[in-house]
């Protein structure tokens, strides 16, 4: 009896340790040398990066920001400090992270991810840190809710880029059915969906767009990092008739590509030019990728800062600013490129307004 209780306690301890371990696995500690090269002629700038969960090495959003910084490091002498969020952390942790960077003399500081804005933008982590460090410049990616003299909001018109790949999907589809896999059912990913659907319908008003989300905030958006689930769900969409699938699912994307390859269909990548990032055997299925140039945003922001120009307020990286777009690597969309460019021009000219939320069905 007592021994059993002891065993139960030990088992519970084991569960705790496993839970903690899983949390720890979320982290990533790829250590990079803190400076690319050190040509003395370059000016030195101390940049602080506060990542969301996943950090450098997530092969997605955080990595894109890191790539932007790395690119800056080629042109300038960058002293960078990258900190990363932990699972289940409080808003105070995020605030503390930003403040630590500011106290460490890092300026500018880039908050990668909307979580740094908090649910109450006026008193969230970023707003508080910006208030505590009035002489530092901050930037936040994917959020435009925080307003302060020393905060720049870098946001993207994901719907515009998604519109173009939606059009591409419709043009390539033989079954008049295309699919969308979202990593997590949050407003940000719904923007991708909305643009994609609009683009597909612009080409073929009767097209069917099958939509599937892999997770919700309730399961901490695990769908951004669940390739197996991505594979299964994609298989389902294809079985239901989809022959082109667009994934906005971060790390689950490889699963999507695998399923598409297994069934001999086509896929569209996201964020970076995934034709260049996936393994060779999967290249053939990727016709294009929706580019979200977080790297461009970071690069531009840091370079401007180095040149002494800081613009507070919202900067939207849209088609016009080349903050979003579509990729052509692999040559699979060469035949329809003119049509896509036509749509692109219409969006830039304002002839087409792309919705940011999916129509409620």
């Amino acid at each position: 009896m007592r021994r059993l209780h002891g065993m139960k306690l030990l088992a519970a301890a084991g569960v705790v340790v496993v839970a903690l371990g899983v949390a720890a696995c979320g982290g990533n500690d790829d250590k990079e040398p803190s400076s690319g090269d050190s040509t003395s002629a370059k000016r030195t700038i101390k940049v602080g990066l506060a990542y969301d969960i996943g950090g450098r090495g997530d092969k997605s959003f955080n990595d894109a920001a890191a790539a932007g910084l790395d690119k800056v490091a080629k042109d300038l002498d960058v002293d960078k400090k990258e900190l990363e969020a932990a699972p289940n952390e409080t808003e105070n942790d995020k605030y503390t992270r930003l403040k630590l960077l500011c106290q460490g003399g890092y300026n500018p500081i880039i908050a990668v991810g909307f979580a740094y804005a908090g649910n109450d933008p006026a008193n969230g982590p970023l707003a508080k840190a910006a208030k505590d460090c009035p002489n530092s410049h901050f930037a936040i990616i994917d959020d435009s809710s925080v307003t302060a003299d020393n905060v720049a909001s870098l946001v993207f018109a994901e719907e515009q880029g998604s519109f173009l790949v939606g059009a591409a999907a419709a043009l390539k589809s033989k079954t008049a059915t295309v699919g969308f896999i979202g990593g997590c059912e949050v407003p940000l990913i719904k923007k991708f969906e909305a643009g994609y659907v609009a683009g597909a319908k612009a080409v073929n008003p009767d097209i069917t767009v099958l939509v599937n989300y892999l997770s919700t905030p309730a399961d901490k958006c695990s769908g951004f990092n669940d390739a197996a689930k991505g594979e299964t769900s994609t298989g389902g969409l294809i079985d239901a008739g989809a022959d082109v699938v667009y994934q906005a699912a971060g790390g689950s994307g490889t699963g999507v590509f695998k399923a598409v390859k297994a069934k001999g269909k086509l896929a569209i990548g996201v964020d970076s030019d995934q034709y260049n990032t996936v393994s060779d055997d999967l290249k053939e299925v990727i016709i294009t990728s929706m580019l979200k140039r977080v790297d461009v945003a970071v690069y531009d922001f840091v370079t401007d800062e180095a040149n002494g120009t800081f613009t507070n307020g919202v900067t939207t990286f849209d088609l016009k600013a080349e903050g979003v777009g579509y990729s052509t690597s692999g040559g699979k969309v060469d035949d329809i490129k003119s049509k896509l460019d036509e749509y692109q021009q219409k969006i830039i000219d304002g002839e087409i307004t792309v919705p940011t939320e999916p129509a409620t069905s």
């Binding site: 009896m1 030990l10 519970a12 371990g21 804005a117 908090g118």
Partner: protein, 373 residues
């Protein structure tokens, strides 16, 4: 003489020694892992201490300890009668959401802030209790293991919360933001943070007072009431408790209800003192609560120390990144502390029993040992 008889010095000694030994062990692992990484452990630790000693950090540690402690007490309540409430996480997420949604709802906008706070606290406790009661009733009437059902209910609660905390229902999204949360509470139901520690603008959650009250209440209920005796007796041995007249089924339901009611409080310190709304980031503390309940052996003071230790490690880990020391080392240390403590307590228990036996002396042997298990 009398005092010596009442305080079991030997037992107390071994039991105090256990966590110290366990902590040293955990620190050993900490040092070893850092050594592999090529970092000096003492160095890392002194940085952590230095950082934790800052006023800001002290406040943050107390604030974290507040909700960690509440979660630990909720878990410990079940532990003391041999019930494993793994569902604190789901219970407090749902409870926090309901309380936050109600507190920000326009139809009770006329309520004075203080009353609204009280109402929200009650709602959170009732929701937590009700959610836990499901597992309790399933166990009592159908024999469903509370471990399984509470884990399942965590998932269900997660789904419910995700469903309700959307802009279609109770959620709102500030212009330009991607974060969905319930509307902000009216300012009159924000609890002021207490300026207990000088040298910083940050204050300690007013709800920490509630955590202290919960701790005292936990002790009193368990050690000084008949209900507590019944509960502990069931934890020692369900069959013995039943023979002494404890109705096991009723105890299961009541224990889960109380455990759930305390769990309902876990999200409130942050709700009233920091976020003022329910956000998606609410969740996860329930599992930390299990760890701290184990660390503190479900004793009120032990868990308070455990919560502070955990909070200290959490807070001081923030500085490690800045020093280019992988922060995961702290997670390793937390994990190994829990395992080491559980093992150490079990060993201490056996040791102290052995020493008691020796003191009882005579030919005590083994009426126990001789009987087949």
């Amino acid at each position: 003489m009398r005092l010596a008889g009442r305080i079991d010095l030997v037992g107390a000694g071994t039991r105090l020694l256990a966590p110290v030994v366990a902590l040293l062990f955990a620190f050993g692992i900490f040092a070893a892992v850092l050594g592999v990484e090529g970092t000096n452990a003492t160095d890392a630790f002194s940085q952590m201490f230095e950082y934790a000693a800052l006023p800001d950090s002290q406040v943050d540690i107390l604030n974290r300890a507040t909700f960690y402690y509440l979660a630990a007490v909720a878990v410990a309540f079940g532990f003391r009668m041999g019930l494993f409430n793994i569902g604190v996480d789901g219970q407090y997420r749902l409870a926090t959401l309901m309380a936050a949604a109600l507190g920000s709802a326009s139809f009770i906008g006329w309520l004075p802030g203080v009353l609204r706070i009280i109402l929200m606290v009650i709602v959170a406790m009732v929701v937590g209790a009700a959610w836990a009661a499901i597992a309790g009733l399933l166990r009592a009437t159908r024999g469903v293991s509370e471990v399984i059902s509470t884990i399942m209910l965590n998932a269900v609660a997660g789904g419910l919360v995700a469903f309700l905390n959307t802009t279609d229902h109770w959620g709102t999204r500030p212009e330009g933001s991607n974060a969905v949360s319930t509307p902000l509470l009216p300012k009159d139901s924000w609890l002021p943070n207490l300026p207990l520690i000088g040298g910083t603008e940050a204050g300690v959650f007013a709800f920490s007072v509630v955590a202290v009250i919960v701790g005292v209440g936990y002790w009193f209920l368990l050690e000084r009431t008949r209900f507590g005796f019944d509960l502990r007796a069931t934890g020692y041995s369900p069959t013995v408790a039943a023979a002494s007249g404890v109705d096991a089924k009723r105890m299961v339901v009541w224990t889960m209800v109380i455990s759930g009611a305390i769990a309902g409080l876990v999200g409130l310190p942050q709700l009233f003192g920091e976020s003022h709304a329910f956000t998606d980031s609410v969740g996860g503390i329930g599992f930390t609560g299990i760890a701290i309940a184990l660390l503190g052996r479900s004793r009120p003071v032990g868990m308070a120390l455990g919560a502070l230790l955990w909070a200290f490690l959490d807070r001081s880990s923030l500085i490690l990144d800045l020093a280019d020391i992988p922060r995961e080392i702290v997670v390793i240390m937390q994990g190994s502390t829990v395992l080491a403590v559980v093992v150490a307590y079990e060993l201490a228990k056996r040791l102290s029993r052995r020493m008691q036996r020796r003191r009882v002396g005579g030919l005590v042997e083994t009426s126990q040992k001789e009987q087949p298990a």
